[in-house]
Symmetry: C2
Subunit: 457 residues, 2 copies
């Protein structure tokens, strides 16, 4: 058996889809159904969140503008025995030529609001569903969680340390980027640093201490190479480790420039307080305390509320796997075909018909409510959906933004959220999202039409 290379890339991403997207695409091709469809990507429920931070658009636009079927992909599809020669020939020239309307990355978004609308011949719009959901669900989920962590940290530094337990490689890259946009300061993920320009950071591992003949020697050696580093003090006995830092400072005199210590186990409140005391008594008031170990927004808030003198946090698994809510209830639904509104009737899984716009209103610098409206009825308020792709090409609004500009605009958008939404608990009342009268009317008319059609079957 020959070795395979199981990495996704621009050349095979067209196959990063559910099989049924391709069988439906062939069906539309065979039936000559090529009228324009509108699909909405939205989240049905917030569950344990008060808002979501839209993220993943840039990945999606790159996918849409480079989407193609390679010869290897076509060979594989042919081998399945499901696809006819004329359809495979059509796929060989396939390009996404639709329009996309989307909320900019970093926009706060609420249930039932389209994060994104795809307007394209129905087969094209259908094919891309799986990849769009795959990227936007995860990136939005992790950007949201990251912002909760940043809020809880009240200005303390936050570093993303989560790669080792994230769900494989792509997640680690997208998570580092999403977390940075949402206010996390650093990542330990070196490739994310290279690709996105995110500042990278790191400390040292217990193994480094253990490999040396003594902890003191490990500290001395590491600080000689990286004078302003962070030293990990809990390999054997935490407070004993801190005292070794003080001893190292005495030994080195002015050459001692260690920036911080890291605590990674035990009672972080008590250990941070004792460590602070030992450092201060040793004249090391300027050495900071950095903490890690199963942290999330709740633990960080608790630590700070209990007065732990911690200056920065390394957040790993609980952020990186969004362990309290590892998925969002995201869906991608047909809302219009051939100029006619469409929706699903059955049990709790309906959608809002037609093309839409979301308008956000503000008072005293804070968002007060949103209105989801039909796109052709202009309203008061800030329209959130922008045209980011036209005929398969990015518009000016869809251009890749410099990451720091995106982080800055995200921080500004999120600062407009009402304080009750930025709390960790469920906001009461939740943020208000209304449907415009016209949209409610269209919803009623479409439902009635479908029920009539069913009754007349």
């Amino acid at each position: 058996m020959t070795a395979y290379r199981d990495w996704a890339n621009d050349d095979n991403a067209a196959l990063l889809t559910d099989l049924y997207q391709l069988t439906m695409l062939q069906a539309y091709f065979a039936e000559g159904m090529e009228e324009t469809a509108v699909f909405d990507l939205f989240i049905r429920r917030l569950r344990e969140r008060n808002y979501l931070v839209a993220c993943g658009l840039d990945t999606v636009l790159h996918y849409l503008e480079t989407l193609h079927f390679s010869p290897a992909a076509l060979d594989y599809l042919e081998s399945l025995g499901l696809f006819k020669p004329d359809f495979l020939h059509y796929l060989a020239d396939f390009r996404f030529a639709g329009d996309v309307y989307a909320m900019p990355e970093g926009t706060p978004v609420f249930p039932n609001e389209p994060l994104l609308e795809v307007v394209a011949p129905i087969g094209q719009a259908q094919l891309v569903e799986t990849f769009l959901l795959n990227q936007i669900t995860f990136q939005t989920n992790i950007a949201t969680k990251a912002h909760r962590v940043v809020q809880a940290a009240q200005g303390c530094t936050i570093a993303d340390f989560g790669m080792r337990r994230m769900h494989a490689a792509d997640a680690s890259l997208k998570a580092a980027r999403a977390s940075y946009i949402a206010g996390v300061d650093f990542t330990s993920n070196v490739l994310a640093g290279q690709i996105y320009g995110i500042p990278v950071t790191g400390t040292m591992a217990h193994s480094y201490v253990e490999a040396h003949d003594s902890e003191a020697e490990a500290f001395r050696a590491f600080a000689a190479l990286y004078p302003e580093t962070t030293l990990l003090v809990d390999t054997y006995d935490t407070l004993d480790g801190v005292r070794k830092i003080v001893a190292l400072a005495k030994g080195l005199g002015n050459a001692f420039q260690v920036g911080s210590i890291r605590l990674d186990s035990g009672d972080l409140v008590a250990l941070a307080q004792e460590s602070r005391r030992i450092l201060d008594e040793g004249g090391l008031e300027r050495v900071k305390i950095f903490a890690s170990n199963s942290l999330d927004e709740h633990r960080i808030a608790d630590l700070l509320a209990q007065g732990a003198p911690i200056d920065g946090f390394g957040v790993g698994t609980r952020l990186g796997t969004i362990s309290d809510q590892p998925y969002l209830d995201s869906v991608y639904k047909l809302t219009e075909y051939a100029g006619q509104a469409r929706m699903k009737l059955s049990s709790q899984k309906s959608n809002l018909p037609g093309r839409k716009q979301v308008y956000r209103s503000y008072a005293a610098g804070k968002a007060t409510h949103d209105v989801i409206a039909l796109v052709d009825k202009k309203r008061e308020g800030q329209p959130l959906l922008q045209k980011v792709m036209h005929n398969g090409q990015r518009t000016e609004a869809g251009r890749t933004q410099p990451l720091n500009a995106l982080r800055e605009s995200t921080m500004q958008s999120l600062a407009h959220l009402p304080d009750r939404l930025l709390a960790r608990g469920k906001a009461d009342p939740p943020y208000r999202v209304d449907l415009s009268e016209e949209l409610q009317g269209s919803l009623d008319v479409t439902r009635h039409r479908l029920e009539q059609e069913m009754a007349a079957r």
Copy 2:
């Protein structure tokens, strides 16, 4: 700003690591510390599981045998201002030249048992920690969850439908493979089908039905193109949809070959029973019922226990994000350096020192218990760790196996688990894992030595 390509691949995977691995590697290089280290990769706790299914080794061996720093990677590292020219020169020629001992993929594994031991010069062994944990944690977690789902389904067909909400692209590939190894029958992920040769499957989406003038027309068109397909019946009214299938069969006569219907909402027990009745009364006894909608091992077991006549299940989000336990407590710990056992002392985070072997004992075809022992003391039982890499090259035991052979051997290994472990609830008693006397002795001696050294500081 130029477009970036944010895909991981063989050429940039060396940077898929935490920054501290590289700073520690430079420190070892600078200090001339290049003696052999042993690192264990193991899981600390089972939490909601009775066993884990080892998975991810093939990904890891491919990474180790291709690991290198590209010119672009070196340029980026240089730009950080942390690394010296002689070290960057060393990295340019860096190759992983260590040995790896591992449990074969598909082996049931328990807490504190090494899934994998890396034996290499310390810097090399340290560098690879992050990637190894990233892949093995996720792949083992999802293989385990998949096997629970397969057990609950009692022989019914299971399809992986989870890509859309998994954590980005790489997770969807590795999950499809891990799930297939663990007994899932199909994936909807087309790229996973191409790369690994997993059988692909799919049905149709609600949007396809909605885009047609009527549900009946949608069914007719899809069945004309895919005679043995699965038709989705719950877009408007489920039982009404089933009656349309019966009508379609009457209209088509012998040309009707539809294989199954899919239910995707509502009370799946009642709807499956009613659907079965309607199909049977219409002479369609051979049309199967396939169900989806927020399924996991618990819901599948409940549906079957309540007598739902369901023949197959599409399992998506809850498997694909392992939503009840989205991470494992996996760690990678130094256990030996320069021939001397090493361990961490502090609070609940210790490890077993030295190189080890795991021996599994059986009685009446079922595994009875494991013993973790020092590697140089041979014991009774089946040794689980095999040498899969020598000097950076795969051994015969480390060769990529054909996926179906691997799936078969996994099914055989898992069939040896005691029944109480294969139940959904927590096994009582849990599986027994002993430490050999020699290993317990080494643990005590190492702990004592480290405590003495600390006292003598």
